[in-house]
């Protein structure tokens, strides 16, 4: 659905030429959410804007729905919707409905059809009763929902979301996330950039991390989390363990870290799946509260990947 190949962008500044994006390639299939992550100044926004046709790349191509964005921009942008960070995305002096009708008409949707589409979208985001309110009177969360509706008026097959939940309260944030899930289920390819890594982890099917203008990781989110999860177990008991029991654990192969008298961390040797059961045997008959294998989250992965040594 969205195919980005070898994108490169250099900007000239007073201090010289800055290579903001270097040979970035990725694709987003229909119904897929790709979380595009990176620290500030890594080249995320430049990449997303090149994908939207707002910045012309020095090299590389963006293909949307089989259409080359550079050569067939007018046709290609009909398949893109975007909610850009730092932009209002809407006319504040117009009402919600007037905005949606305007953006719809500018994307070649007939008036009546646009009206029906607008009403449907407002119902989906729970803003039907706000249709006649001017945008400037809405809360930040509501404005963001309307901006999302605006981007969806023409039923784009590719949706670009730049920090869609930034600065929103829990309820608004959940509303946006539900909408994104719903759109992905309906077959929209979604490119999501955000600094809220929990949001990225919740929503994404795949993750790409950019650093210094270069893509340094791209894989399925689950696979990435699996890869970065350590083979360590957290064990919590309901009652404190006697010191004799704690001492007996030191003979086991692997490493047992006693965090407290009720909390242990066990790191087995590579490939050893048996010793865990020996350890649990030593704990008998003390009641267990929790036995859990360590699971990395995206924040941990991000930190490790971005801070890792290596030529970029």
């Amino acid at each position: 659905m969205l195919e980005v190949t070898g994108l490169t962008k250099r900007f000239r500044s007073r201090t010289g030429v800055v290579e903001a994006v270097r040979g970035v390639s990725f694709s987003v299939a229909a119904g897929e959410v790709l979380a595009f992550l990176g620290p500030n100044g890594a080249g995320k926004t430049t990449t997303i804007k090149m994908t939207a046709g707002l910045i012309r790349p020095d090299q590389g191509t963006v293909t949307i729905h089989g259409l080359d964005l550079c050569h067939r921009q007018s046709a290609a942008v009909q398949h893109i919707g975007a909610v850009l960070e730092g932009s209002r995305n809407l006319y504040w002096r117009l009402t919600v409905m007037e905005n949606l009708l305007y953006w719809g008409a500018m994307r070649r949707i007939p008036y009546r059809q646009a009206r029906l589409r607008a009403m449907d979208l407002l119902e989906q985001v729970g803003l039907t009763d706000r249709a006649k309110n001017t945008v400037q009177t809405l809360s930040r969360g509501m404005q963001q929902k309307v901006a999302l509706c605006q981007a969806l008026m023409h039923r784009p097959s590719v949706l670009l979301l730049d920090e869609p939940t930034l600065g929103l309260d829990f309820e608004s944030s959940e509303g946006i996330k539900n909408m994104v899930r719903h759109l992905a289920t309906d077959g929209t390819a979604i490119l999501l950039t955000t600094h809220q890594l929990d949001v990225a982890e919740e929503l994404s099917d795949r993750v790409a991390i950019i650093r210094g203008g270069q893509l340094i990781l791209e894989d399925h989110t689950k696979a990435v989390l699996q890869q970065y999860s350590r083979s360590a177990y957290a064990i919590v008991t309901e009652t404190p363990l006697p010191s004799s029991v704690l001492a007996s654990m030191s003979d086991l192969p692997g490493q047992v870290n006693v965090i407290s008298s009720q909390r242990l961390q066990y790191v087995p040797r590579d490939g050893d799946t048996e010793t865990l059961y020996d350890l649990l045997g030593l704990l008998k008959p003390y009641p267990l509260l929790q036995v859990e294998r360590h699971q990395a989250d995206l924040a941990e992965v991000f930190q490790q990947v971005v801070n890792s040594e290596g030529e970029v």
Binding site: I55, R56, A82, R88, N89, L90, E98, M106, T134
Partner: protein, 256 residues
């Protein structure tokens, strides 16, 4: 295209109607200025005034106002969109940006001219003053408007690349005042003659003045005016397309 035109028209009308104080203030200003022109001319000449002289003064002022609005609107539109954060969304429409902004300029000028004509007609009815009008004057007026849009696109190109255009517009407006009101075409020196041919507005305003006062103008003036208008609008369009390309290439469309 019709859909886009209608959408822009609806947006313009809604914004005008939603904030009536702005509209009423601008109509009141027009009323005061036109009344000042009518009664001021009567007071200064100490005799009832009408016909050719007043027509020239009133039309000259109306043309200047319209041209100022037409020239400034394109630049302000870009600056405001960039400031409000909607420019990037507009640039993602499936229309060439130059077409979008020319359609906007058209709807904005219709919304500007309609109240002005209403005020003028109202005042003429109240004062029983008769202006000399020839329908042929519509052509030089339209050409002057096209010239203003050409100049406006040049200002808009500057706005796209540099965003803040307040000072540029000040200079442009004073230059326009000179080009529209000074009788450059009547100056005999060669330098002035050349300036009147290549500078925007002078040829169209001279043509408009001749058509209004005499009901006709020389073929040379019609040609000079038409060619001048065509070149100005073409220059504006080409420059705007170039500026859009440069802004995309530098990644400064969303900057303000």
């Amino acid at each position: 295209m019709i859909g886009m035109l209608m959408a822009e028209w609806r947006r313009t009308v809604v914004e005008t109607v939603r904030y009536p104080l702005e509209t009423i203030s601008s109509m009141a200003t027009l009323f005061i200025v036109f009344a000042g022109l009518f009664y001021g001319a009567t007071y200064i000449t100490n005799s009832p005034i009408g016909g050719g002289r007043l027509t020239t003064v009133v039309v000259g002022y109306a043309v200047w106002m319209t041209m100022m609005a037409a020239t400034g609107d394109l630049g302000w539109s870009i600056q405001n969109e960039a400031q409000n954060g909607t420019l990037e969304q507009v640039m993602m429409f499936p229309w060439p940006p130059v077409v979008i902004f020319l359609v906007r300029a058209f709807t904005a000028i219709v919304a500007f001219v309609l109240p002005m004509v209403a005020v003028l007609l109202g005042l003429l009815a109240m004062t029983h003053i008769h202006l000399q009008w020839h329908w042929a004057a519509v052509v030089p007026f339209a050409w002057a408007l096209g010239t203003a849009w050409g100049l406006g696109l040049i200002v808009a190109s500057i706005a796209l690349l540099f965003k803040r255009i307040g000072q540029v517009l000040n200079i442009v407006q004073f230059a326009m005042l000179f080009l529209i009101l000074a009788p450059i075409a009547d100056f005999s020196a060669w330098g002035w003659r050349i300036l009147s041919t290549i500078a925007p507005f002078t040829a169209q305003v001279t043509l408009l003045r001749d058509v209004l006062s005499q009901g006709k103008a020389s073929l040379w003036l019609w040609m000079e005016s038409g060619i001048n208008f065509s070149l100005m609008i073409l220059l504006g369009i080409l420059l705007f397309i170039w500026a859009t390309r440069v802004a995309r290439s530098r990644g400064i469309l969303g900057h303000y």
